[in-house]
């Protein structure tokens, strides 16, 4: 049996008592819905095993693309995508499309009215408490002079189907709608893992919609700017939808910025480029309005731009969506939309909302209180979950304390769709997020969207949405004449934050690489000598482990003793993100730095983590010692692939910041390694073995053999790793590279402090006499010890100076009077 036949057989069985749901795939008589009929030939052949394979491939693609979604307080988790799309045929889609276009136009008109004439309120069409009592109502932009005629550029509306198959609106997202990036990523993945089905479908491609979005944002700029600057304002890499934001930024070719990258001067908004300010004309806002300006909105916000509200009011920057748009995310508005539509557009509302009662109205309040068990009660600006756990009595008391803050909504028997879950396919309820864009003078819905299959009440898995063309010749998205764009990445942006993230990208990548090489060298020794600590090899192993601990810190307490201790230590290095200095920790740091500049980097970047994640999984799933080397090796290949990413980057300041970080880190790591391995005498055999391992882990073994014919002694090794300007692993080489990158950074002057410090270091290195360094005093090489100590400190100082000169973006904003305040005389009487 195939999946689809099985599914049809199951869902057409009469069920006892359960609410009848509309099925997205199978009609009540067991035949396929029209949308699926065109796909039947391919779709019917799909077996459970096929889907299992597809699901695994989806996981791999999403991991390679680094697609994440963060739940509040739980860090970034993997994005979930179901293999079975939601398929809608052209005839069924047409009324939805018209309804969505009308709705966006209506929502825009409501915004213009609520922040302007307030006719809806003064004529009683919308009760004032629905608006004034909603947290999204932003009074600082409610000024007659500040009217934005198009406050709504991109709206998202969530739909669900009633039992009769009619789509109903569940809610609107207008504050800073998210998901369009996920929708695009879903399409990319599904089209690759199910190519036959995808080809068969004849559905609307999404790319032209992104071109239209880009063009709409450019056209949002005030006046007739030839080349307006558009940025995407993100709350940062810890935001729930950071991936979506970065995807949109890079798909549109606009830089992803954070509040601290922007500054207001004289009522204009600027990007803080080093040494100059670049004017910003349009901000695609992904920061909630309340956090957008610490001067006039939440004073404790570090995510906003002080003075932004004033710049908006003066019409000097366009914020998309307008700062007041959050008031539309308000279920209290739903009962009043039909009347508002008649009043503002002079036409009947096309898309019905889920039946909703606003408790501020006494009759509606009675209705809701009578049916508390049957309705979902939500606050007009709260999250439904906050009320979910209340008893009926508590809920009643809450509602009665401030009825205007609540609505009751009917629970739709949402339509169902086959969804992969726990190793099989079952019918789960689905909702559909749609997107509507103001393009030119009209609103255009995305022909498609992002669906969610609800595995349980709080666990969604996303689904691609396929809207089938009426005929194969239809223009994608119904858009003709949109200029395609080729940019696959944002224009390079060199604000200090970006340079800093790039610098740490270089440092972490190098640190992880060096540590992995050392772990691999140590593991090889451990395989042979872990049970023979008194042998030469055992002594060498101890030295290498000391080097590992010098770089990555000592093993955490409580690890296994005895022969298993080495593997436990290695595993902790590779897996334990809490072990500061370890590989896992370094990978987290690397990923974090990269997330901040995701829009600036090739999508290939994330393949590195696809590889390291799979290596982690393999290691977690195997207790064999050889898996340590296997996984470390695969992690190393993953990290090395980042070198390929940087190799094909534009040589802009960001690239130089990566190079600088890498070079300084490499020099530091070599210092650590030398200090751990070459400063002490341990007998000829041990020394030789340690030096060999050192050469292997610094990739210098071949060069050394060629140059010194296999005669390993400290002076030769030091020569090669300290002084040899030809050896890319040497400190001399690294510092020369660091200098080249440093002078290319925008804030370098030729005489800046980091340049001076680095130049001193190069001089110092040139003056080194290796013969003197290897001189022995007791068991130690005192000159070498001193030299490495001092050199390390000097390197750290260079890195600090680089941060000070190149990454400082000034102190953060603080509310007046928030400093330790001593009152000289009292205000207020």
């Amino acid at each position: 049996m195939t999946v689809l036949r099985d599914y049809a057989a199951t869902v057409t069985q009469p069920t006892l008592g359960g609410a009848a749901r509309y099925d997205e795939v199978v009609a009540p008589d067991g035949s396929l819905r029209p949308a699926w009929k065109g796909l039947a030939e391919v779709a019917v052949g799909i077996t459970e095993a096929d889907l299992r394979r597809v699901q695994a491939e989806i996981g791999r693609f999403l991991s390679d693309d680094g697609v994440t979604y963060a739940r509040p307080g739980r860090g970034h988790g993997r994005w979930r995508l179901d293999p079975v799309p939601l398929v809608i045929d052209a005839a069924a889609w047409a009324p939805v499309e018209v309804g969505l276009a009308q709705r966006a136009e209506l929502l825009n008109a409501i915004l213009v009215d609520l922040y302007g004439d307030q006719r809806l309120l003064s004529e009683g069409i919308v009760p004032a408490a629905v608006v004034f009592g909603h947290g999204g109502y932003t009074r600082v932009v409610a000024r007659p002079e500040a009217i934005d005629p198009r406050p709504l550029v991109l709206a998202a509306t969530d739909l669900g189907r009633d039992a009769d198959g009619a789509w109903r609106v569940l809610g609107d997202r207008a504050q800073a709608p998210s998901g369009i990036g996920y929708a695009m990523e879903n399409r990319r993945v599904i089209s690759r893992v199910m190519p036959e089905l995808y080809r068969e479908a004849g559905l609307h491609r999404m790319e032209p919609y992104f071109w239209a979005l880009r063009s709409a944002l450019i056209q949002s700029a005030q006046g007739d700017l030839a080349d307006p600057r558009v940025v995407v304002l993100s709350p940062g890499t810890h935001s729930e939808t950071a991936y979506d934001q970065a995807f949109v930024a890079s798909a549109l070719g606009f830089p992803l910025v954070e509040g601290s990258d922007l500054v207001v001067r004289d009522g204009w908004v600027y990007l803080r480029a080093p040494g100059r300010l670049e004017r910003v004309d349009v901000i695609l806002r992904r920061v909630d309005a309340a956090w957008s300006d610490p001067l006039e909105l939440r004073g404790d916000s570090q995510l906003g731009v002080a003075g932004l509200v004033e710049a908006v009011r003066r019409g000097r920057v366009r914020v998309v969506n307008g700062l007041g748009a959050g008031v539309l995310e308000n279920p209290g508005l739903l009962p009043f939309l039909p009347a508002a539509c008649e009043a503002l557009l002079g036409e009947p509302l096309r898309l019905d909302s889920v039946p909703t009662w606003w408790c501020g109205d006494p009759d509606s309040l009675d209705h809701v209180l009578d049916r508390l068990d049957a309705l979902t009660v939500t606050e007009i600006d709260g999250r439904p979950e906050t009320l979910a756990d209340l008893s009926t009595d508590d809920l009643r008391a809450r509602v009665l304390a401030a009825p205007y803050r609540f609505v009751g909504q009917e629970r739709l028997p949402l339509s169902q769709s086959p969804t992969w879950s726990r190793g099989g396919t079952r019918a789960v309820p689905v909702t559909l997020r749609t997107f509507t864009l103001r393009y030119g003078s009209a609103y255009r819905p995305l022909v498609g969207g992002m669906a969610s299959g609800w595995l349980d009440a709080t666990t969604p898995t996303s689904k691609d949405v396929w809207v089938i063309k009426a005929s194969a010749g239809d223009a994608d998205q119904g858009l003709t004449g949109v200029l395609p764009m080729t940019a696959s990445r944002s224009v390079p942006m060199t604000v200090p934050r970006v340079l800093e993230d790039m610098f740490w990208f270089g440092r972490y990548a190098e640190r992880v690489e060096d540590l992995l090489r050392l772990v691999l060298a140590a593991h090889t020794l451990a395989e042979d000598f872990r049970t023979r600590p008194r042998s030469t090899g055992g002594a060498s192993l101890a030295v290498l482990m000391a080097a590992v601990h010098r770089m990555a810190g000592p093993p955490p307490a409580g690890l296994e003793d005895g022969a298993g201790a080495y593997d436990a230590d290695f595993r902790s290095l590779l897996l334990d993100g809490g072990r500061a200095g370890g590989v896992a920790y370094g990978l987290d740091g690397l990923r974090d730095a990269l997330r901040g500049v995701r829009d600036q980097l090739s999508p290939d970047t994330w393949r590195a983590f696809g590889a390291t994640d799979r290596a982690v999984e393999a290691l977690e799933g195997s207790r064999h010692s050889h898996q340590v080397a296997e996984s470390a090796g695969r992690m190393l290949s993953g990290i090395l692939s980042l070198q390929g990413v940087t190799a094909s980057m534009i040589r802009d300041p960001g690239w130089h910041a990566i190079g600088l970080g890498r070079a300084l880190e490499r020099a530091l790591q070599v210092c650590h390694l030398l200090a751990a391995t070459t400063t002490e005498r341990r007998g000829i055999d041990v020394d030789r073995e340690v030096l060999n391992a050192l050469l292997v882990s610094t990739e210098s073994a071949v060069t050394h053999r060629r140059r010194y014919r296999g005669y390993v002694r400290p002076a030769g090794v030091l020569e090669l790793l300290l002084m040899d300007a030809e050896n890319p692993r040497s400190i001399a080489f690294s510092l020369a590279a660091a200098r080249e990158h440093l002078v290319a950074l925008p804030a370098s002057t030729g005489s800046s402090r980091p340049e001076r410090l680095l130049s001193d270091l190069l001089d110092e290195l040139a003056a080194v006499d290796v013969a003197e360094l290897v001189t022995i005093g007791g068991v130690e090489r005192p000159h070498l010890v001193r030299f490495l100590d001092v050199f390390q400190v000097s390197l750290e100082r260079v890195a600090d100076a680089v941060a000070e000169v190149h990454f400082a973006s000034g102190p953060p904003p603080r509310p007046l009077g928030s400093l330790g305040l001593s009152l000289v005389s009292e205000a207020g009487s």
């Binding site: 401030a402 603080r814 330790g820 207020g828």
Partner: protein, 295 residues
């Protein structure tokens, strides 16, 4: 009465401030009972940007930015204002207070606009204690003028004026617990007592001209900014609505010694000066000097 007002707020820092952005509410409002002959706001050091705008409540808001490094910032508002005693419609004052609740009867003339002042706001939370305290004055059927005046008397009698009891961020609950506060606290408390019963009440920021003790010279700069409350009276029989202004701190209706600068839902909407600074400084000083000179 005519007054010339000089209100200077001076911030001092122990390190350079490289960027200051601020919003000030220092320009008095034009009202039936108040004429503003002149008003201006001066910021030192010279701002790169200074502009006036009318906010959603009709107040003049002054936006400014200073970008030259400074260790002292002075924001000074000066105005010349003529004030008369406000007159209220007797029938409006005699209306039972239950008939002045905009959420209960949204069709009252002007009720939709007053709704904004009947809902809780950041500094005026609705607590059962505030509601209980207000209930003693808001007895069934009582005329709104009398009920509100009674509440004012009680707050003046029950609460002690004590500048050390509260801070600028004190809550209504704290004021009720401490039974003490300053004008801002009494205004917030009064508003909470009224709003929890469905009435609309707004926070008014301004000045009260002080009279020197008999036989003493008026001391220049010893006045202070002040805050009081205005309660919504719906328009009767198609008439326009009015706001009855009362001063719980001094137990009197607002008269011709009160200069009205701005109003909002609470202090947070209309602080005389608020701002954001960029600095490495760790401590600052604040000096406020207000002079309300009768002329």
């Amino acid at each position: 009465m005519r007054y010339v007002i000089d209100h200077a707020t001076t911030y001092g820092y122990d390190d350079d401030v490289t960027d200051s952005l601020g919003v000030a509410h220092l320009v008095p409002r034009a009202l039936a009972s108040q004429t503003v002959a002149s008003a201006d706001v001066e910021v030192t050091p010279a701002p790169v940007d200074l502009s006036h705008d009318i906010d959603c409540y009709g107040n003049t808001a002054t936006y400014f930015q200073v970008t030259q490094p400074h260790r002292e910032l002075v924001v000074r508002g000066r105005s010349d204002v003529e004030v008369t005693v406000p007159a209220y419609d007797e029938t409006a004052l005699a209306t039972p207070w239950e008939q002045a609740r905009p959420l209960v009867d949204p069709s009252l003339p002007g009720g939709w606009r007053a709704t904004d002042f009947a809902l809780p706001s950041a500094a005026v939370e609705h607590t059962p204690e505030a509601r209980a305290y207000g209930a003693e004055s808001l007895r069934p059927g009582r005329p709104i003028g009398a009920a509100v005046t009674d509440l004012m008397h009680r707050i003046h009698a029950d609460f002690e004026y004590d500048a050390t009891a509260t801070t600028v961020t004190s809550t209504v609950a704290e004021t009720l617990r401490e039974r003490a506060g300053v004008c801002q606290d009494f205004a917030h408390l009064t508003i909470a007592c009224l709003r929890t019963h469905g009435l609309a009440a707004r926070y008014v920021s301004g000045y009260l001209a002080t009279e020197p003790p008999p036989g003493k010279e008026r001391i220049v700069g010893a006045d202070a900014s002040h805050a009081w409350v205005a309660v919504w009276l719906p328009g009767r029989d198609g008439g326009v609505d009015e706001w009855l202004a009362i001063d719980p701190t001094n137990d009197q209706w607002v008269g011709d010694r009160y200069v009205t600068v701005a109003w909002g839902r609470d202090y947070g909407d209309v602080p005389p000066v608020k701002g954001v600074i960029f600095t490495e400084a760790t401590t600052s000083t604040l000096d406020v000097s207000v002079d309300v000179e009768p002329v």
